[in-house]
Each structure stands twice: as structure tokens, then as C-alpha cells.
Symmetry: C2
Subunit: 350 residues, 2 copies
């Protein structure tokens, strides 16, 4: 199935020096993929010329004169930069010229723009950010990772429904196991919002497994792994960024120890294949690409600081979602759920 994806080629900390090699790598990985590089034509043409495989018949450029900076307030980007590479990428999705947009740009601006241009699915207040994280057993999807702070119990339930549908489609699971992130597994623990959300999840049709604590994100819950972990965006963002910081610190300390003296360096050389295999298994670049779920269209947020390997992975996530007909699938299931709710309300009042 042919897939066309619009790339915000100017976004991220490194702009076209990362997005263009990332795009070229993705084209090699996906034979049916077409990519539209969105951004300043001259700059993109120059950067493309620097790559041997830069001439590609499945790659085109869509000019956009402006760039949203990484620290620009979302409202300013939305109102003031209507010809930004980010906005034009999302417009291409709206117009049907692309089936998904991928950006490493400013998260707040991307969220605001995507929501304004594409609108949310019926029944969804605000989109959420969902991504897969590596775990000891495989991976787990976590949402929300920062789009929504001060979420209500009802929003957490919406996150659960969206996460369940997304993971069901992408991982081909019938009834993904869902858990709520909490500070303890006993009923007495938790804040007010989480306790109320727990009640909503219990009466829902989701395959709800109760609470998990922070360590269970990576280690799994007791006798197995859950598929989706739901939390408020403030909490999810802290968990994600804390993990990033810890992983970077561990890598840094290990590097320092293997460089401390010649014998350690020699040991490091000997252990290099093992250290590489280790690093590969936990390579965050293979998990790059978070979905803005709940929109009428596919928008993938790539990490601002990622490299070409990571950016290509974010494109892979977009391809995967297009091929699995998200968000049409989520929209249909949500409409079904709302139909059910209306029927049940009608039968109760009858």
C-alpha cells in the first residue's frame, strides 16, 4: 500500500541536517513510501545535494517560508506563522495530499496547530501524546506524555480508550491490557483524580488491570506486562524525561569508567560487541516517534534532539499508523461506543 507522508523538514534541534538523511533512510526501508519535505526550498535543495542518494523519485519538496522555533509560544506559532513548515505539513494531511505528518518541532506548537487544523475526533476533548517505551519483556505504550496537565478522571478514561484502540490496531491485540499509573497498588493510595478514574475504568469495557507503580513501567506488572499505561500528562512527562536523564547519566558514567585508564579501555574494546548489543536493545532511537492520538489525522512527534536513525523511526511509526488505518479505526470505534452509550441511556429512560 502506497503511503505519502509530509515531513516538517525544518523542525527539531538540527533541522534539515537530520530530517533529510532520516527521510532518505526511511525511503530505503519502505519501498512504497513517498515523502514530501516541507520547508525552505533552497535550503532543502542544498542539503539534499550533500547526500549521494539525494536524487530520489519518491521525494518531493513543498516550499514553506517560515519556521517555528523550539521555544516559540504555541499561540504565537499558530496565529503568526501560517506558512511555517509545521503548519504546511499538517495542512497537507488536512487536504489529503499526505496521510500523515512527522515533526521534530516544538511540542506545544505542534499540538496547538494539529488540533486547530485537523480537529479532534467526536467525543475527544483534547489529543494525547502516546509512545512506546522499551521494557524488559518488549514494550509498553504510555499516555499522556505531556499534552494534558490537570487531566480529569473522564480524560484519563478517554486516554485509556484511545490507547487501547491504538495498541489493538498497531500490535494486533484483541483486548490490550490497560493499567493506571499510581503511587501504590493498595486501594487507599493515589490522588483524587486517579481514584475516580479507577472507578470509571472498572465500569468500562476495557481490559483494565488496576494500578501499576512507576517501576512497573519497565519491569511489568507482577505476572506479566500490561500493554497501555494511562496517566496525567504532567506525570507522564516527568516519568519520560526522568528516564531519559537517568539513561543518559548511566551511559555517561559507563563511558567514563571505560576511559579511566588504559587497562579499562582495553577491557572496553574487548567488551565492545557486548556493549553494542546491550546499547542496541535499549536504543531510544528505536522508540522515537510519539503519536498525537485523538485527532482527525495522523501527526507524529519526533524527539527534538534525535538523529537520522531516530527520525527514520518516527517516519516508520507514521507508516505503521497509516497502514493500520488510524485514526479512522479509532473514530469508528468511538462512534460505536457512543452509539452504545446512547442506546443504554435510552433503554434506561424507557
Amino acid at each position: 500500500m502506497a503511503v505519502t507522508i509530509a515531513l516538517d523538514a525544518m523542525g527539531g534541534d538540527h533541522g534539515p541536517t537530520v530530517t533529510i538523511p532520516g527521510a532518505l533512510a526511511a525511503l530505503n526501508q519502505h519501498p512504497d513510501l513517498k515523502l514530501i519535505l516541507v520547508g525552505q526550498r533552497e535550503l532543502l535543495t542544498q542539503e539534499l545535494a550533500r547526500h549521494k542518494s539525494g536524487e530520489h523519485d519518491r521525494l518531493s519538496i513543498q516550499h514553506a517560508s517560515e519556521v517555528v522555533t523550539m521555544d516559540e509560544p504555541p499561540a504565537q506559532a499558530l496565529r503568526g506563522k501560517k506558512d511555517s513548515s509545521m503548519r504546511v505539513s499538517i495542512n497537507l494531511v488536512k487536504q489529503g495530499a499526505a496521510q500523515a505528518a512527522v515533526s521534530s518541532g516544538n511540542t506545544g506548537a505542534l499540538m496547538a496547530t494539529a488540533r486547530f487544523v485537523l480537529k479532534t475526533l467526536p467525543g475527544i476533548d483534547r489529543p494525547a501524546i502516546i509512545a512506546a517505551l522499551p521494557t524488559i519483556h518488549g514494550h509498553v505504550h504510555v499516555l499522556d506524555l505531556g499534552a494534558n496537565v490537570d487531566s480529569t478522571p473522564e480524560q484519563l478514561l478517554q486516554f485509556g480508550i484511545m490507547g487501547s484502540l491504538l495498541v489493538g490496531a498497531l500490535d494486533h491485540k484483541e483486548r490490550p491490557a490497560i493499567a493506571l499509573l499510581n503511587v501504590g497498588v493498595e486501594d487507599i493510595k493515589g490522588n483524587e483524580v486517579v481514584k475516580k478514574a479507577d472507578e470509571l475504568f472498572r465500569t468500562s469495557n476495557l481490559n483494565y488491570q488496576g494500578y501499576v507503580e512507576g517501576d512497573e513501567i519497565y519491569l511489568g506488572k507482577h505476572n506479566g506486562q500490561v500493554d497501555v499505561i494511562v496517566c496525567d500528562g504532567f506525570v507522564g512527562n516527568v516519568a519520560l524525561k526522568t528516564s531519559e536523564g537517568l539513561a543518559r547519566m548511566i551511559a555517561q558514567v559507563m563511558k567514563e569508567e571505560f576511559r579511566r585508564h588504559p587497562l579499562a579501555m582495553l577491557a572496553g574494546l574487548i567488551a565492545l560487541p557486548v556493549l553494542k548489543a546491550f546499547r542496541h536493545r535499549l536504543d531510544t532511537r528505536n522508540y522515537n516517534g510519539a503519536s498525537l492520538v485523538g485527532l482527525n489525522g495522523i501527526v507524529i512527534k519526533s524527539h527534538g534532539g534525535t538523529d537520522a536513525v531516530g527520525f527514520a523511526n518516527a517516519i516508520r511509526v507514521a507508516v505503521d499508523e497509516v497502514q493500520n488505518r488510524l485514526p479512522q479505526l479509532i473514530g469508528e470505534k468511538l462512534a460505536g461506543l457512543q452509539g452504545l452509550a446512547q442506546e443504554s441511556a435510552a433503554s434506561e429512560s424507557a
Copy 2:
């Protein structure tokens, strides 16, 4: 200076098999330390007999007939088990027979019991849990780690004041640098409580450095390290436990890779001294021992699953706090702050 500390010898996942060797290790490390093992005398005597250095003139046993289990509801432990090893340990602090209590038991029960027996310092609503975490530059203290969910902006300010005083005393810093944990560094980000707390911190006398994000817990803030990071207990607990889970997963994956085939095992053997040095630098046992700060007395919470090395470290934290006259120091400074506030209110109304 002679220090006497009461140990809840029955607490934690492993009880006396960890607390007793931990206690003996601590006695070796601190020549002026006296320890009171609190728990079932017969069991403790038996366990002591298993250790060569079990006969120790600085070690005594205080019998307590009951044990608080790890999943017991706090209210039940508080009302129903008045002769528990946990309760008797804290009573010894209240009575002045010990200057601090250390327990690896049930956090909720420990918090409830400590608060009931010792009471909070004037001006403090609820105690908070504070601990040091390793960072790339050294360490940072984080609070609250789970005692208070749904904290108000005023409570976050209290955490900041207590954290500043504790770190000032323990790390001998004049004006520790304080930051608020948030999901972004721009003013527009954050939830309502954090934004309001930011205003309170700005008008306080604390050495306030603004927001930090999750990754900055371990990597430091831009051009340096903050000394204290303040957050709600729900968020802090998730950050702490997520870190524990990730660290364990990384260790597990590394072990698996070094055991994958004979050559990898050989490489692991050669790299062993480096891997050991690496592990030592990030050894969580060296950071075991969280303080229940804001009480009229010193209570240290040790990780429930720790070993003797970790338990001995929690005792070291207790010794350090006794020697630095916490919480007297915090009480005096708080009283000074309240005096100032009253004077300023009086002069305003005059």
C-alpha cells in the same frame, strides 16, 4: 558525639536477616554509635547468634511483640498494633531514649505512626519524604517522594523551606539552590499548582532557580546542579520508582548480554573491574535512607527490599542528621521565619 538509634529490626521484606547484619556493619563504621534493636527478642537473639560479631557492647534489644506487615493499612497499624517494632522504635525517640529511628517497614504506616507519636514542627502541615539521588555531578535531594499527594502550592513552598534547611545542614551549604519540578521551562507550561507555587517561591527568601524538567534531576540544570528539587508526592514517587525500574531493567539487559555466549562471558570477566566501578558509582544502596522531614524527631525510611549494605547506609543518614541537630535546627529556623512573618504583618498593620 555519642549517638543512639532505634532500629525497627522486624521491618522490610527480609526483617532481621537484613537489619541485623546492617546494624553490625553500621556499628563498625561509627565508633560512637549505639543501636537498639527493636522487635521480638527471641527471634532477634537467634539471628544475632548467627553472626560472629553478634556480641556487641553497643547493641541492645528492646522487645516489641507485634510486627506491622508491608501491606497493612496505616490506620490499622496505628490503632491496632501499639506494641509493634515500628511503634516502639518511634516511642523510643519520643521518650528521648534514642535520637532517631530507622525502619524498612511499610511507608504509610511509618508516616502515620511517626506523625501521631512525634507530631509535626510548628507551621508544617504534614511531613514530607526527602532523599538524595545520585546525579552526574554528585547528588541532589528530592522531595516529596510520596507522603503527600494533591499538595497545595503552600505545601510545595513548605517542602522547599524544609529541603533547603536540611540540605543546608547536611551538605553544609549556605544557600542551597532550589528548583520546582515541571514539564517545561517556559513560563506557559506546568499545571496550576506548580504555577502558583512558582509565584510563592519567587517571593520567598529561598535561593530559587525556577523550573527543572525530569531529565535535569540526573543531568543538572543547564550550567550546574541544583541542590533541592521540589514536587508533589505523587510526581516524586513516580519519578523515583520509574528510575528504580529503569535502572533494574538496564542492569538486567546488561547481565543477559554478558551471558549470551562464552565469548561475551569472557569479555565480561575482563571488564569486571570496570563494571564493578561503574556499578559502585551508581549503587542505589549508597543512597538508601529517606528522611521524614517536618517531624519533631528523626525518622529514616529505608527501602523495603534493601540489603545489609543499604540498611547500614540508612543508619548513616540517621547518624548524620543527629550530629547536625536536625530537626532542632529546622524548628528554630521555622520559628525564626514565623517571627519575621509576624513582625512584618505587625509593622504593616501599624
